[in-house]
Every structure is written in C-alpha cells, then in structure tokens.
C-alpha cells in the first residue's frame, strides 16, 4: 500500500482546472484557486469544426486542448512540468506505480466511456477528462476526480482501460505532474 497522506481532494467546475489547482498547491503555489488556474492557463476557448464529426455532430470545444491549462499555468509560475505518454500499457502502469511508490500524486488524462463511477448518461467517447491518482491500496487505485464530491477508486483493470481509451485525443496513458516545488 502506498498513499500520499497529505492529499486533499478538491472539487471543481472543470476537470483540468481542478487537477491543475490541486497539483500546483502541493507544489508550493498554495494561493491558487480554480478561477486563477483557469485564467492563468487561458482555458477559455471556442471552436466549431463542422467538417469534423464527433458523436454524429460537429466538433465543438469550449476549452483549450487537453493539457494546455496545466502547461500554461506551470509555465507562468515557473514550475517545470513532467509529462509522459506511453506506447505500451505495461510501461504506463509501471510508471504510474513508481510515481505512487515515491508518494507522488499525478494527473492523468483519461477517456470517460469506461469510467465506472460516471452515470451511463455521461459516458461518451470523450478522451479529455482529467483526474488525479494519489495512491494504491492492493488492487485499488485511489482517484481524486474534480467532478466528484469525494474521492473514488478504480481497479487496476478499470484504470488501465480509461487511461488507454481510444478515439480522438486518445490519452495514451498520459501522466503529468509538477517536477519540483516552487522555490
């Protein structure tokens, strides 16, 4: 069992804001709030691509590309970012386990179609959801999903399935975290 005991769950209106705020607070940017991350990360964006069909409709986005809010906020605050994608599922799992063993909470990009704690009505092939994985208890990974009021958990199989979901913006097991604390 490994767990980051200082970890505090944070609920947010938008998933990447929540993950960014939470991870950077533990990296020394303690004053950070969700609106601040959203603003510093320039999260507001709009695009409509009628020729690109997603779920049988035109692709519409109201937020920037997945990962950008975290990247921009870290850049502005001078915090170096570690980000890793994986071609093999085993390597992705090994890397996550190593991070957790070192007591590090990490952000993960996932697809929501197989996200078991989401209601069926929300489960589309949407691959730009973000969550924090902050610990492991036997087969269960401890998950802090900013959409949820409290922490949840996923089994090894469930987490692998959402981390390696396929389709547009396939997350490819993507993991990210602030490399060092802000001096």
């Amino acid at each position: 069992m490994c767990m980051n005991n200082e970890f505090k769950h944070l609920q947010a209106a938008h998933c990447e804001n929540g993950v960014t705020t939470n991870l950077l607070r533990s990296a020394g940017a303690e004053q950070l709030t969700e609106p601040l991350s959203f603003g510093i990360g320039s999260g507001l964006f709009y695009v409509q691509l009628p020729f690109l069909k997603i779920n049988n409709g035109p692709a519409i986005a109201f937020r920037t590309m997945p990962g950008l809010i975290f990247k921009r906020t870290c850049n502005a605050l001078g915090i170096p970012v570690a980000r890793k994608k994986f071609t093999s599922q085993e390597a992705g799992k090994r890397y996550l386990d190593e991070c957790l063993d070192a007591g590090r909470a990490v952000g993960a990009q996932v697809g929501v179609y197989y996200l078991t704690y989401f209601p069926k009505e929300y489960r589309f092939h949407f691959n730009a959801h973000n969550m924090i994985v902050f610990g492991k208890e036997e087969d269960k990974y401890m998950i802090s999903d900013p959409v949820m009021e409290t922490v949840t958990s996923l089994t090894d199989y469930e987490l692998q399935r959402v981390r390696f979901a396929k389709g547009a913006f396939a997350p490819r097991g993507q993991i990210y975290y602030p490399k060092e604390k802000r001096s």
């Binding site: 209106a13 779920n55 989401f118 929300y122 092939h125 959409v147 949820m148 009021e149 396929k166 389709g167």
Partner: protein, 134 residues
C-alpha cells in the same frame, strides 16, 4: 447569478454527486456552491440520448432486414464511429466498411469476430445474434 438562484433540479449526475458552480454571494463576491443539476442541461442530454436510441433501433432493423451486419448495430450501441472501431479492433476503416455488409461479415473467421466482440465488450455469440443482456 446569485447563490440562491442556482438551479437545484434533477440531473443524471444527481444520483452520484453534486456539481460545483460559481455564483455571487450576499456581499457581491463570487464563490462556489453545489448544484444538484439544471433542467435545461438534463433536457439537452435527454435529446442527445433519444437521438442515439433511434440510431440504435434503426441499425437493429437494418440488420434484421439483412441490409447490414451486426457490426453496424454494435457500433451504434457503443456510440462508436469508424475511427474508434478501427482503433479498438486494429482493422483499417475500409475493412470495417466491408464488414458492415452481411455477406462479408458471414465469411469472417472466428479470430476476426473475436476482435469485434472484444471491442464491443460482448461475446462472439452475442455479436452474431445481437442478443445482449446488460
């Protein structure tokens, strides 16, 4: 919007969690509050799902009329498009297009059927008969 005006309607997420929303408090400052849902949002989601249910039923009828293979039905049932099916099965898109035809589908060897079955999270038997109990 003021805090007391935040909609507290029913929503799909309501059974599991409340959502964070931002609103103005009594002193005019923005703060967060929890909302159980918003009728407008719930309606929009309902409309989207009605559309999907219709597509699934249309696909089912097409398969029953032998105008398409069960791959079409499961594609709709699992909300997948050609790109997603291709990514999960490893087949090229044009190959899948071919397999959407009954004649080509019926000639598929077991291992290729298995790939589709795995992608759609069903057994090969369920794939062939469209009989899924969930």
């Amino acid at each position: 919007m003021k805090k007391e005006e935040i909609p507290q309607d029913d929503g799909a997420l309501n059974k599991l969690t409340k959502e964070v929303v931002y609103a103005v408090d009594s002193s005019g400052k923005y703060s967060t509050e929890l909302s159980s849902g918003w009728e407008v949002k719930a309606k929009a989601l309902d409309v989207a799902w009605e559309d999907i249910e219709k597509r699934i039923e249309d696909a089912r009828q097409k398969v029953l009329r032998n105008e398409a293979s069960p791959v079409l039905y499961f594609m709709e049932l699992r909300l997948m498009d050609m790109g997603i099916v291709s990514a999960y099965t490893g087949f090229w898109k044009w190959t899948i297009k071919k397999h959407l035809k009954t004649a080509a589908f019926n000639k598929l060897p077991e291992e290729k059927l298995k790939k589709y079955a795995d992608a759609f999270n069903v057994s090969v038997e369920e794939l062939k008969t469209m009989n899924v109990h969930e």
